[in-house]
Amino acid sequence: MILEVKDLRVEFPTRRGTLVALDSVSFHINPGEVLGVVGESGAGKSITGMAVIGLLEPPGRIAGGEVRLEGRRIDNLPREEMRKVRGRQIGVVFQDPLTSLNPLYTVGQQLVETILTHLPLSRTQARERAISLLKEVGIPGAEARLDHYPHQFSGGMRQRVVIALAIAAEPKLIIADEPTTALDVSIQAQIIALLKRLSAERGTAVMLITHDMGVIAETSHRVAVMYAGRIAEIGPVREVIHAPRHPYTAGLMGSIPKISVHKQKLLQIEGAMPRLNAIPRGCAFNPRCPKRFARCLSERPDLMPAGAGAAACWLHAPAHA
């Protein structure tokens, strides 16, 4: 197990009381495995990623639970220690490659600096490694491109550079937060293929955060569906897509437009996800759930076994079945 997250709770203290952004989130990722984390905006998927890499925006803070990387607890590390973990053991890819790259340095300078920070190499060796990294992520003319600035690259190529930076120190875990959202669909397919290949070849664990179920279906082995700060369902991706166990997952899958030859009405979930300061009692999904019953209104369900995975839904409680 590369990453283990247990009962993670993230709070944002505000003047009007404490908002609970994540509530008892637990999951793990194995070597070479891609775990997709999917959800709509505000579901807590990005906050989960930020909490794992210790980059929660203040006043957000981890209020409970633990995060372990290869068995070692990292959620309570001092800032300097955590800095070393990031980059060396955890690589990060964000949505917008322009904000992850420094516009004033060439791509080569940024790669070499990252490599020298984390690996015991000479400058010449680091430069050679930078070239081979650019080749590995599929940038043509890597040697010449090393001396170019980020603005000289297209969006897709920039994201490849960011991925090269993320894997520069051979991390055990890559956290990719909406890595293809800013890209066009043909470029998105290229980046997905790249992430998959890197994970398979290097045995890197990947936490892929996205709102796009299609990207998850293409890339992930398992998927966690998040809703209002909790995991609603987690399981093998095929299972979750074809036989969703949580009514929210089922609604979400139904509302995704699929390529079809005829116009048709989409399934829709009524209403919207609750704001963090107005999460209903019981199951957070209950006001929108077509299958709710008395227990859903009063008691909050935790993840319970359902099919090959688990769902936080009382429909799967042993007593119910």
Binding site: E40, S41, S154, G156, M157, D184, V185, S186, I187, Q188, A189, Q190, I192, A193, H211, D212, M213, G214, V215, A217, E218, V237, R238, I241, H242, G251, L252, G254, S255, I256, P257, K258, I259, S260, V261, H262, K263, Q264, K265, L266, L267, Q268, I269, E270, A272, M273
Partner: protein, 308 residues
């Protein structure tokens, strides 16, 4: 007679550097052709979608249609009474200092469509029609979620009593469950009010669900135009095939995919001949030299010659 006709419409943008730089550095003017010889007809009551990747010119076509840009060449003829536009970003397109009722009432007042006394009731009716409550008119835009704001945009567009709605990525900023609500609402309004839509989107799946006909754009030109059923079941242009192939496979059929390499070329320096030839697996000498025209709904030498 079609409701809207575009005849060989082109639009250039001047992207020259400032005058002083040009004089000192001896640089010529540079023009970017964002839309190149686009011809379209939109029939009353149908939904025509334009689809393509960023920079293909689809949003420029939308802006040309509603008159936010004037065409450099060609002619646009609109035979209806009025058209309205719905924008992508429901946060930027609503004035944060106005109450919703004033936002929705603006087209009515500006166009002088109703007596002052009747406006209030009309606005309430419009809000209800788009799935909001009549009292929501008293609130400000920030009190609404993204999906609700897009409903407000739609109510405002309907207030102008348009025949044609030009929708530029109306659901791209929305979450997928909310997107479904908005797309369903738009379909319902079309049926009820007989609206005609020009629907701009980069999302092929969305387009396949809402459009009657689809135009695929690449680097300012329409490369394929056809009914939704024929385009999605038998795509002909290699670029349409690439786009369809690149859509993530939600069904997990496990079909092997070969992501086509390359990227959209720089529109400032488009390749000669067919703009798609550098990425096209079927390109030959003719494709590199001669630009294909839209013949029989597809602009491709390989298709015309029966090579694919």
């Amino acid at each position: 007679m079609p409701l809207l006709t575009l005849e060989a419409v082109s639009r250039d943008f001047d992207v020259s550097r400032p005058w002083l730089n040009r004089v000192i550095e001896g640089e010529p003017r540079r023009m970017l052709r964002a839309v190149d010889q686009v011809a379209l007809e939109v029939e009353q009551g149908e939904t025509l979608a334009l689809v393509g990747e960023s920079g293909c010119g689809k949003s420029t076509v939308a802006r040309l249609i509603v008159g936010l840009y004037a065409p450099t060449e060609g002619r646009i003829e609109f035979r209806g009474r009025r058209m309205q536009m719905i924008f992508q970003d429901p946060y930027a397109s609503l004035n944060p200092r106005w109450r919703v009722k004033d936002i929705v009432a603006e087209p009515i007042t500006v166009l002088g469509l109703k007596e002052k006394r009747a406006i209030h009731e009309t606005v309430k009716g419009l809000l209800v029609q788009v799935g909001l409550s009549a009292d929501d008119g008293e609130k400000y835009p920030h009190e609404f979620s993204g999906g609700q704001r897009q409903r407000i945009s739609i109510a405002r567009a309907l207030a102008g009593e348009p025949d044609l709605l030009v929708c530029d990525e109306p659901t791209s900023a929305l979450d997928v469950s909310v997107q479904a609500q908005i797309l369903n609402l738009m379909g319902e309004l079309q049926r009820r009010l007989g609206l005609t839509y020009v629907f701009i989107s980069h999302n092929l799946a969305v387009v396949s669900q809402v459009a009657d006909r689809v135009g695929v754009m690449y680097l300012g030109r329409i490369v394929e135009l056809g009914s939704t059923s024929s385009l999605f079941s038998r795509p002909r242009h290699p670029y349409t095939r690439l786009l369809l192939d690149a859509v993530p496979d939600l069904g997990m059929t496990g079909k092997p995919r070969t992501p086509i390499g390359g990227e959209v070329p720089n529109p400032l320096d488009p390749p000669p001949g067919c703009a798609f030839h550098p990425r096209c697996p079927h390109a030959n000498e003719r494709c590199r030299r001669e630009r294909p025209a839209l013949v029989d709904h597809v602009a491709c030498h390989a298709v015309a010659e029966g090579r694919i």
